[in-house]
């Protein structure tokens, strides 16, 4: 009956999760009893190859990471569809098959476009070209 359902096969995972947490927390607590604690300013300095850090460490970073994450979202969603498609493949008719083929093709077109404009290159040639253009025009 709806509303009374308990996913009992997930109970072991819950227990395992708690056990893992207990191990980690227990280890940390146990360690905190044993380990010394003698901080001084130099020790607490973040690592910077032996120099005092210059500038803000959490600086703005390459936009490439965003593009990767964005593509990851798209592909992850696609993978999610693929899983359910693959599991149910035996029950799926031709429609479903071709539907997925077309789906993959559409995604692939976008992917090929991204490849072409260099979104997948870490060393971005386009960006440099643009920069040159910018400086020329400006």
């Amino acid at each position: 009956m709806p509303g009374t359902y308990i996913p009992s096969e997930y109970l072991p995972i819950l227990i395992a999760l708690m056990a893992a947490t207990a191990i980690v927390v227990g280890g940390l607590l146990f360690g905190s009893i044993l380990r010394p604690r003698r901080p001084y300013p130099e020790k607490l300095l973040p690592y910077e190859s032996g120099n005092p850090p210059v500038g803000e460490p959490r600086e703005r970073f390459s936009i490439k990471f965003y593009v990767i994450a964005m593509l990851f979202v798209v592909f992850d969603v696609e993978a999610a569809f693929l899983y359910s498609w693959a599991v149910a493949y035996g029950n799926i008719g031709l429609y479903g098959f071709w539907g997925m083929v077309i789906f993959i093709v559409i995604i692939f077109i976008g992917y090929a476009y991204d490849w072409k404009i260099g979104a997948l290159d870490w060393k971005d040639a386009n960006e440099d070209k643009d920069k040159d253009k910018d400086t020329k025009e400006g």
């Binding site: 709806p2 009374t4 936009i63 965003y66 969603v77 569809f81």
Partner: protein, 102 residues
């Protein structure tokens, strides 16, 4: 075992949705606003799934699947827009985003 009433689920979905609305209306940061939209979608998803479960029908679940997919696309575009705007003016605050004016 006494079942959990459907209304509880729907209520929960509504509350999450409303928290999302609240966040969307009140936070000044664009990223926070996008996050609030995600919250709203999640509230809806909870309701949809609950209804689907109680009505023993798969349509709600298919819709949830689609909502998740669309949420990803929406966030990707939204953040890209924000980044594009950020280039022109390094801020993520709604109030400051007046580039369209001039």
């Amino acid at each position: 075992m006494t079942p959990v009433p459907l209304e509880w689920y729907l209520m929960l979905g509504a509350i999450v949705f409303i928290i999302g609305v609240f966040g969307f209306l009140t936070r000044r940061n664009i990223i926070m606003m996008l996050i609030s939209i995600e919250l709203m979608l999640n509230g809806v998803n909870i309701s949809l799934l609950a209804l689907s479960h109680y009505m023993q029908d798969m349509r709600g679940q298919v819709l949830v699947f689609f909502v998740i997919a669309c949420a990803g696309a929406a966030v990707a575009v939204g953040l890209a827009l924000m980044i594009a705007a950020f280039r022109n003016k390094p801020t993520s605050h709604m109030d400051e985003m007046d580039i369209l004016k001039g």
